[in-house]
C-alpha cells in the first residue's frame, strides 16, 4: 500500500458525519465485513482469499482502514491454509506498522475525530508468529517479546482510556499466551512456569489459567504441584458460588473445568474408572465438551475397551461435528483404528472422505495418516 493510493482515497472520500451511525452494523466498519466474518466463521478461508483478491482488483476498497482490514483477513487466511511463505510476502507489503500512513490523523477528512494507529492488532501478532511457523524460531520469539514490550508501553500511555486499557490488557494476556505456547511446544518448561507466575502476579487469578498451570506441572511429572494448583481452582469455584463473580466463565464451564482437572488426577494415578466417571459428568452437563469426550475415549482404551473408545469418538463426530472435528481427535481415532483393524486403510478412508465433505478449509487432513 503506497502513499499515493492512500492520499488519493483521502481526497475522494466524503467527510464523515460524526452524527451518522458508523457502528450500526459490521458493514459500517469495513466494506462487506459481515460477509468476510461469515466466511471466516465457516472456515471458508479459500473463499476469503478470493473475496480479497476481487475487492482489490475491482478497487472496491475506499478507505485506508478497508485496505488494512482486508489485508489482515488475507494474512490470517493464508496462515490458516498453512501458506506461510505467502502470508509473509503479504505482510511484507506493510513495511512499517508505525508509519504515519497507518494513523487516523493522517486522514482528517475521513477520520475527523480520531487519532492513533489503525493497524489491526492481529497483524502485529501474525508478524511475530509467521517466522516461527517458517522455522525461524529465534526471529519470531524476539518479535514476540518486542511486541510484549510494545503492548506494555501502550498500557502506560492509555491510563485515561477505560475501554482502551481493557483492550490492551487483553492483548497483553494474548501475547503472553502466545509466548508461553511457543516455549511449551519446545518443552522449555522452566520458562513457561516463570511466565505463568508472572501472569498470575499481574492479577490474573484466572481458574482456567491455574488449571493450565496444573496441566503443565502434570506434563513435567510434578504431580504434587499439579494437585496443589487444581485444589486452588476448586477453592475459586467455591468462592464464586459463595457470591464471587466471573463474567468470563459460565457456571457450566467452571464446573466442567474442575471435573476435568479431577479426572486428570485419577488418570495419572491409573484409576481410569473414576476418570471416566468425571468426564461423563462433564458431558452430561455440556454435551459439547470435546476435551471431556476425547479424554474419556482415551481412558476407555486404557481400560482395555478399544471398541467403546472408538464408539465414543465416532459418536461425537456424528452428533456435534463442528466442535468434535479437530485434528487431535482424528489422530486419536485413527490410532485406534490402526490397532483395532488389520485392514485399517478402508475405515480410515471412509473417515477421510467424510472429513473432506464436512471440514473447514484449514483442517489438516494429514491427521488421518493415510
Amino acid at each position: 500500500m503506497d502513499t499515493d493510493t492512500l492520499l488519493q482515497h483521502e481526497a475522494v472520500s466524503q467527510s464523515a458525519d460524526p452524527l451518522s451511525n458508523q457502528f450500526g452494523s459490521l458493514n459500517d466498519l469495513a466494506h462487506e465485513l459481515a460477509s468476510l466474518q461469515d466466511l471466516a466463521n465457516r472456515g471458508s478461508w479459500r473463499s476469503i482469499l478470493d473475496k480479497v483478491a476481487r475487492a482489490r482488483s475491482h478497487s472496491l476498497l475506499n478507505t485506508p482502514h478497508d485496505h488494512l482490514t482486508y489485508l489482515a483477513y488475507n494474512v490470517l487466511a493464508l496462515a490458516k491454509l498453512r501458506r506461510f511463505k505467502d502470508a509473509l510476502t503479504e505482510l511484507d507489503s506493510v513495511d512499517d506498522f508505525d508509519s504515519h500512513h497507518y494513523r487516523y490523523e493522517t486522514y482528517p477528512k475521513i477520520y475527523p475525530t480520531r487519532c492513533g494507529s489503525m493497524v489491526p492488532f492481529s497483524l502485529r501478532w501474525l508478524h511475530a508468529l509467521i517466522p516461527i511457523k517458517l522455522g525461524n524460531r529465534q526471529e519470531g520469539l524476539d518479535r514476540f517479546y518486542i511486541l510484549l514490550d510494545f503492548v506494555r508501553g501502550k498500557l502506560k500511555e492509555k491510563q485515561d482510556y477505560d475501554v482502551s486499557i481493557k483492550m490492551w490488557k487483553k492483548r497483553e494476556v494474548f501475547v503472553m499466551n502466545g509466548i508461553i505456547s511457543e516455549h511449551l511446544k519446545n518443552k522449555e518448561f522452566g520458562v513457561c512456569l516463570d511466565l505463568i507466575k508472572d501472569l498470575v502476579s499481574r492479577g490474573n487469578l484466572d481458574p482456567v489459567l491455574l488449571s493450565k498451570l496444573g496441566h503443565i506441572q502434570m506434563q513435567i511429572g510434578d504431580l504434587e504441584g499439579a494437585k496443589g494448583s487444581f485444589d486452588k481452582v476448586e477453592k475459586l469455584l467455591k468462592e464464586r458460588n459463595a457470591g464471587g463473580d466471573d463474567e468470563l466463565l459460565s457456571e457450566v464451564e467452571f464446573r466442567n473445568q474442575v471435573n476435568r482437572n479431577k479426572a486428570l488426577v485419577y488418570l495419572v494415578g491409573k484409576d481410569y474408572v473414576s476418570a471416566v466417571r468425571e468426564y461423563e459428568e462433564c458431558i452430561e452437563r455440556d454435551p459439547m465438551d470435546v476435551v471431556a469426550i476425547n479424554n474419556k475415549a482415551l481412558c476407555l482404551m486404557y481400560l482395555r475397551d478399544l471398541s467403546d473408545s472408538i464408539k465414543v469418538l465416532e459418536n461425537s463426530l456424528e452428533r456435534v461435528p463442528t466442535v468434535a472435528l479437530n485434528e487431535t481427535l482424528v489422530v486419536n481415532l485413527c490410532s485406534m483404528y490402526e490397532l483395532a483393524y488389520v485392514n485399517h486403510s478402508d475405515i480410515k478412508r471412509t473417515l477421510s472422505n467424510w472429513i473432506a465433505r464436512v471440514a473447514p478449509d484449514d483442517f489438516d487432513s494429514s491427521s488421518t495418516r493415510i
Binding site: L68, L76, F121, N177, S181, L298
Partner: protein, 431 residues
Amino acid sequence: MSTTQGTHSLAFRVMRLCRPSFHVEAPLRVDPSDLIVGEDIFDDPIAASRLPPLIDAHVTKLTDTSDLTYRTRFLLQHPSDSFGLTGLLVLPQAFGAIYLGETFCSYISINNSSNFEVRDVTIKAEIQTERQRILLLDTSKSPVESIRAGGRYDFIVEHDVKELGAHTLVCTAVYNDGDGDRKYLPQFFKFIVANPLSVRTKETTYLEACIENHTKINLYMDQVEFEPAQHCSANIVKADEHKSEKDSLSREIFKPPVLIRSGGGIHNYLYQLRSSSNGSAQSNILGKLQITWRTNLGEPGRLQTQQILGTPVTHKEIELCVMEVPSVINLDKPFSVHLNLKNHTERELGPFEVWLSQNDSLDEKAVMINGLQTMELPQLKAFGATDFHLEMNFFFCLLAISHSSSMEMKKSSIRPFSIPAENMLQSFAFD
C-alpha cells in the same frame, strides 16, 4: 498342528501404552476487535461506547448444536483460549525410546480378519531378553472359546524393565481355524532398552553426585535419596533459597521443580557424610543412590546405583590448626600464635599436651624459635574444639666456631606434633 506360512485367520496388533500427552499448539484464533478495527480505535469515545456491543453481538458462544459454524477454530472466547494447551490428550504416536527403570506397557489385540470363527484360542505373551524369558500372559489354563469373524480379543500387559539391550515381545496364539486345523501363530516385536542416567560421584567427607540425563526427554526428579552404608550417616545439603519472592501469592502456588534437561542435562546433589563407627572398620562402601523420576504425565521410572565406594581415608581423630599469626614479628620480641584444637571423634579425648617442636633437620639455622615448653589442655568432648595461644620468640642463634672440640651446640630435639600445612603462614618481616 500346522505351522505353515499360509494365511492366518488371526493377527496380533500391538500398541505401546505409555502415558498419553497433552496436545500443544498455538491456536490461530483471534479476538474480533483485533481483526476488524484499528488497534487505537477505542481511544475514540464514540467508538469506545458503540463498538463493544456491536462486536459482542457477533461473538456469541456456541450453545446450539444447530449452529453449524467452525467459529471456535477462529475466534477467542475466553482469554485463556490463546494458551496452546486445551487439555486434549493424544495417544502415544510412536513406540518411542524405552529406558531401564521404566515400565513397559502394551495394548495387544488379536484380530480375526477371516470370514470364519476361530475356536479354542490359547494366547501367550512373553518378554525375551538375552538373559531370560518372562511370561506376561498365558491363557492355556482357560483358552478363549471363540473369536468370531471380524472379532477381536484384547489384553494389556505390563513389565518392569530391569535389563539393558535387546528385548523381544513374543506373542503366540494357538487356535483352531475355520477348517478345523490347529494353527500356531508367532509374532515378534523388538525394542531396545537404553540407560537413562549416569551418576558420577566425588567424595571426601562430602559426597557430590552428578546425575546426567541421557534420554530425549526432560526428567522430573521426584525423589533422589542417598542410602548410606551401615557405618555411615548422611544428610543432604541444599542451597538456601536466594531468590526473594516478592509476591507471596505466586510463591504459594508452586515450588520450582527439579527438572533435568534432555540430552545431557545435569543436576548435582550434595550429601554430608559422617562415620558413625569407632573408625576402626575401614570399609570404603559409602552407600547407594535411589532415584525415582517422572516423565510424561507422571510416567515413573526407578533406578538404584551400585554401591558407591569412597577412597579409604584415615580419618584424623584430632586436628590442630593455626588460626592466626601476627603479620609482623620482631626478633627477640615475644609474639602470640592463636591455635585451635579440634576433636573429630564421637567420644571424649584428652587431656592433651602441646609443645613447640624444632625442625628435625640437622641443618644449622641462623634464626631459631623457642617458646613455652609444654602447655596442657583439658579434655575435649565429642566434636568439641578449643582455642589457645602459645607465646613464642625468634632469636639469633650464633654459632661459635671454636677449635675446641669440646664445645657443642645444644639442640633441642623434641618430638614433633604435626601441624597441617594449609594453615601456615604469612610472611614474616624482621626488624
